[in-house]
């Protein structure tokens, strides 16, 4: 033991007597356990209520063909009031289309992939097809679906990795590594949006470039009904943050038509998939779970009707216990056995999200970190995507090396693989997660 170690031990020993912890009554354990149990039961009850409500509304819709059943009025626990603002200067489609400054998606780029079997050109690549033609955020015109038995445990083991999936490649983005880049999947199956801190550019499901609108400062976004809801931070002191609603098309394309202030400290350093589409608006899936951070609005900034979600706004997943709760109240435990030197992602794990057809989608890493002795073990590797269908069917897939989930929504699960060249040029391969092969 050297001098430093001895000094450290002495300092620790000197501090130890300062803190005495006489044990309180062990009843405190039962009180806390009871509180945890109540929280779990509340989540279960909400999931069951939501299922019953959806089933009832669907049945009424089928029998009565009544337009009034198009939304469900379940108010989320907490709602941040969003404010409609006067649209800025009209940005018509013909004049507002701004060429993306640093991102381009060549329409015929041949794409090297980790799998060797991806389509060779963008034009040949289909958009995700797992959902059929119906918008997946609405309840279909059926009265229910059959369920399959759930296992007690879903085991994801690095020592026995799940089958490799072949991403359906759509194209390659290039740009400077200095620019931020985030992604959002359009919830109507029509493609995705790339946000680079200055603009939001729409691509169709095959990677063909569409319109581009200004989105200055937006660092994270989701899209519903052609409105982009983006998180951005202010540049003044004290720090501020807000969600803004920006139409992607129409006469107000590119204008901020509504905004909602949020706590800036709450939303620093977010992992992918931190926000989802709730009934009444965009919901926080991670930090203030279930909070509606901005209401849905139309292209004029007027609050628009909610949407239907097949289950609670926030999918039922407790990271600490690994318990996943389906929308019908059934539970299954996720047991992830990572490599001994697995790394923690710096921003923490992503929450569970909804995918196509009401699937629950969760992703995690099981491989060794790139620098096991460094901060957080370096970067995590070997991402696994777990999908659970509404009926309880389960699909677990390993992504090829370097691929990660970029965004997910009822419109699909978007993947990306980033590489940075020595000259600072960043290349981002984009791909869709293929439909689940239910086991």
């Amino acid at each position: 033991m050297n001098d430093l170690e001895r000094e450290l031990r002495d300092a620790h020993a000197a501090r130890t007597p300062i803190h005495t912890f006489p044990p309180p009554s062990s009843e405190v354990v039962r009180v806390r356990a009871h509180a945890l149990e109540r929280r779990h039961r509340r989540n279960l009850a909400f999931a069951t209520f939501a299922t019953v409500a959806i089933g009832t509304v669907t049945l009424v819709g089928v029998l009565g063909n009544d337009d009034s059943v198009s939304t469900i009025g379940n108010a989320p626990d907490t709602v941040v009031q969003s404010t409609a603002v006067e649209p800025g200067p009209s940005v018509g489609e013909s004049t507002s289309v701004v060429a993306p400054p640093s991102t381009t998606l060549p329409a015929s780029t041949s794409l090297p992939t980790g799998t060797g079997s991806a389509p060779s050109s963008v034009a040949e690549t289909p958009a995700p097809t797992s959902t059929g033609s119906e918008p997946t955020t609405t309840v279909p015109g059926t009265t229910g679906f059959a369920t399959v038995p759930l296992p007690d445990v879903i085991t994801v083991d690095h020592a026995a990795p799940p089958p490799l999936v072949t991403p359906q490649t759509v194209g390659t983005l290039t740009g400077s590594a200095d620019t931020t880049m985030s992604f959002a999947v359009l919830d109507d199956d029509s493609g995705f949006v790339v946000v680079d801190g200055e603009t939001a550019t729409r691509y169709d499901g095959s990677g063909n470039t569409g319109t581009s609108v200004p989105a200055p400062g937006v660092v994270d976004a989701v899209v519903h009904a052609d409105i982009l809801y983006g998180l951005r931070f202010g540049t003044t002191m004290p720090p501020t943050a807000e969600f803004v609603a920006i139409p992607l098309s129409g006469s107000n394309a590119g204008a901020v038509v509504a905004r909602s202030e949020v706590d800036p400290n709450q939303y620093l350093e977010l992992p992918v998939g931190s926000f989802g589409l709730g009934r009444a608006g965009v919901v926080d899936l991670l930090r203030a779970r279930g909070t509606t951070v901005i209401h849905y609005v139309d292209e004029r900034g007027q609050q628009s009707p909610g949407i239907q979600v097949r289950g609670p706004d926030v999918p039922g997943y407790d990271e600490a216990s690994g318990i996943i709760t389906l929308s019908d109240g059934r539970t299954v435990r996720l047991d992830v056995r990572r490599h001994p030197d697995a790394a923690d992602p710096f921003v923490g794990p992503s929450p569970m999200s909804y995918g196509p057809d009401g699937e629950l989608v969760l992703w995690t890493w099981i491989g060794p970190g790139t620098d096991p002795s460094g901060d957080f073990g370096g970067s995590p590797t070997e991402q696994v995507v777990i999908r659970i269908g509404q009926d309880g069917r389960i699909d677990v897939r390993l992504l090829p090396i370097g691929w990660e989930v970029a965004a997910t929504s009822p419109g699909g699960v978007l993947l990306q693989r980033t590489s940075v060249a020595g000259d600072g040029q960043r290349t981002v391969e984009m791909a869709w997660m293929p439909p689940a092969e239910w086991g």
Partner: protein, 156 residues
Amino acid sequence: MAEPADATRPTIDDVFAREYGPLCRLAVSLVDDPGRAEELVQDCFARALPRWEQLDNPGGYLRRGVVNAARSELRKRRIRRRTPNPPEGFAQLPERDRQLLDAVARLSPRRRIAVTLRVLEDRSEAETAELMGCSLGTVKSLTSRGLDDLRKVVTR
């Protein structure tokens, strides 16, 4: 018919009375804040309660739970970019001890946990690896690099 309870098995009340103090001291050496440390420990007991009968080694389960909870706590603090607070009870310590403990509090979370368990608490490499859920090599490396970091900032 329910099986009779194992008379030799310690109850959660026994373990709570015996381990509460040591676990809180372990937690406070990792997160500094005595109040938060007690919360983490109580939560670990609460999570253990429903599965108490299935635990082969309740003490080990609880210690590992405390280390995991402390790691999450440190990660959240880091994400919020908070400057580490001066460890509690600082004012009563000599200047040199304050300097050393402050330097430990500023290490990255994994290095801090490794240094705390391995050096400050004098736990074996095997036990530290078990508590951190990583390999012996990782413990050695994290501890070594943590001590290197400390040497750079601690004046003699």
